[in-house]
């Protein structure tokens, strides 16, 4: 695969690999992730599904290094590099992207300005960054269905939930990360929007070999995203993995069976608090 995008500097060949091994992590003194194993490679789409509070967002933030989350054990590497030792911005520059579940408002800080600095941080000269962004942002706005006047707004300020998700997807497309962690890209967005953003992610897989870890509750996102693997996260660990048909099964039966099994498992191994 040949990448012609301006972010070529950060790609290290076409093949990237995020390896999560035995990851245990907590927040506010509570152990939330109890041992997660997962490998995401370039061009692969992984879906993570699980009940509320099972630790999906915690996984996303621990991968990105959000302050306040403690890693209690295990390792995470990206292309062999120990991610857990790096600051969030360094992880991003290695090619990791996080679209958070609830993107927050950053008053007074414009989207263009942010992306210009983000590209400059990846080694592009500010003038080149600005020049290449202006035109590409318009194209991407069209693709994700974001009104172009919203490009002038400060980050997420007064944007609806759906507009925020479109904006996250646009930012991802402009930064062209190697691995994207998408935390409920489908929440708060309408059906048309859902299709637009999912399609844009899917196109990224084809265009530059994007690897995806998509956290979701709904099969609707997955029908466009076409995951290679679906994982079920319950009580802080992956209790089942399977093909796309697993998502359909979950939608029919819910997580009850998995939760019962996981709880039994926890008491058996004495991890449960």
């Amino acid at each position: 695969m040949t990448a012609t995008s301006p972010t070529t500097e950060v790609s290290r060949g076409g093949s990237h690999e995020l390896v999560i091994d035995g990851l245990r992590a907590g927040v506010a003194g509570l152990e939330v992730l109890t041992g997660v194993d997962l490998v995401v490679r370039s061009g692969e789409v992984h879906a993570v599904m699980g009940p509320n509070g099972s630790g999906k967002s915690t996984l996303a933030h621990v991968l990105m290094g959000k302050p306040g989350y403690q890693v209690l054990g295990g390792t995470v590497t990206l292309d062999g590099e120990d991610l857990l030792r790096l600051a969030p911005f360094e992880r991003a520059r290695l090619g990791l992207f996080l679209a958070p579940q609830d993107p927050i408002e950053v008053p007074g800080v414009g989207l263009h300005q942010t992306l210009t600095e983000a590209l400059a941080g990846r080694g592009m000269s500010p003038d080149d960054a600005k020049g290449s962004l202006a035109a590409r942002a318009l194209v991407e706005a069209q693709r994700v269905g974001l009104e172009t006047r919203l490009l002038e707004r400060p980050l997420n300020v007064d944007l609806s939930g759906g507009e925020r998700k479109r904006s996250e997807t646009l930012q991802m497309a402009l930064l062209q990360p190697n691995i994207a962690v998408l935390d409920e890209l489908d929440s708060g967005i309408d059906i048309d929007g859902l299709h637009d953003v999912a399609q844009r992610v899917r196109d990224g897989v084809a265009e530059w070999g994007l690897g995806v870890l998509a956290i979701t509750h709904y099969r609707r996102l997955l029908s466009v995203l076409q995951p290679d693997v679906v994982h079920v996260l319950v009580r802080g660990r992956i209790v089942a993995s399977g093909g796309p048909e697993l998502a359909g099964e979950l939608e029919r039966t819910g997580y009850a069976a998995f939760e019962t099994a996981a709880r039994a498992d926890d008491s058996g191994t004495g991890i449960q608090n």
């Binding site: 990105m64 959000k66 302050p67 600051a87 969030p88 911005f89 991003a92 520059r93 992207f97 996080l98 958070p100 993107p103 927050i104 950053v106 008053p107 007074g108 800080v109 300005q113 942010t114 992306l115 600095e117 983000a118 941080g121 990846r122 400060p154 980050l155 930012q171 930064l175």
Partner: protein, 434 residues
Amino acid sequence: MRRRAEAWERFAATSVPTEAEEVWRYSGIDGFDLDAYAPAPLAAGLESTLAVARRLADSLGPRAGLVVTRNGTIEAIEMERSAPEALSVTNTRTAPRAAAAPETLGELAPGRDAFGELHDAFVSDVVLVGVPRKTVVADPIVVVHLVDPGAHGAPGVAVFPHMLVDLGTSSEAGVIELTAPIVSDGPLPAGDESDTTPSPMLLVPVTELRVADDSHLRYGNLQVLGQGATSIALQASCVGRDASLQSFTAGLGGRYARVRTDSDLLGQAGRTSLLAAYLGTGEQVHDFRTLQDHHAPRTESQLLFKGAVADTARSVYSGLIRIRKGARGANAFQTNHNLVLSEGAHADSVPNLDIDENDVRCSHASTVGPIDEEQRYYLETRGIAPAVAERLIVLGFFSDLAGRAPFPGVGRWVEEAVHRRMAGRLSAQGGTDG
């Protein structure tokens, strides 16, 4: 001038304030030695001084005229051809008798403390901006106050600029004052900190703004003195019936810079909007004292002061809303927000109300706090280094103020100055942006 001699006598009789007095608590004034300041021979030639002033003024956009003062002396008054005939910008020292200092000079800003007396004793030229009734001046008159610290090794210069803006009824005008030092190779660009060997200087500026009935004044005050400067400024205004004042102050420079803003609303339905942005780094101290004084019914004052402190800088905001008996239906708002960017930095915010009338609407709000961690993290997830994220957030913090500046050029100037200052801090820290 009798006034001058009397002021000197009063000053000599007053003691220089001490930090034991609440209003001077943060000033560092105890270490202050007036005798260390003296007139000094000028270091820069007149032509280069004027060139510097024009360059500074150009950065603010179109103007109706330019006044240049150097160490308190008016060196040039240049009116644009587009400026209305009736507009008068004069020097009280050289103007013909008829146009000389009006009775009202100094009326708004009587010596209220030792520095006021000192100002009255030493003030030389007064910039007088007179806008006759029914005259509309679209572009601002720019007044550049340059301070020439004198030849190297000079003891430090003391400067007492004075400006009186007098708007007649039903007129409209704008004035921007910009105060900057001259260094050997031109003035410091706004917000620059390359001033590593700062020259000591003392400034005691007084600005009087008279906004008569039904007239509208837009006023900007920009200050980028070096880190060796002590500035103790007074801005006094009075606003008449159905008149308005929009005022914007930006304090970026100075070692200790104090601005006292006294705004009297004298006529029915008069309005003031008082905005200020301040940013302190290194060991700077910024000290703002404000008074929104409502004398008349249905008057309205809106105050928004925003500041950021980094390193070991500190800032003080202390403001009073006074609603006098008879000012029924007055609206007064006072908001002060502060960002504290370093452990060693400190901001104080002290809002106050003094209300002698019922039927009024007043509110004050103030915050002091660090940068929102969630915002910084969000920007970091895009691959932006923490220090750059901080610069973006600080710029964003000031952007609503800059957007409301009385002239677009003033808003732009402030944003650029803040940007440069924050970027300068970045490189001074060794550039964490890898």
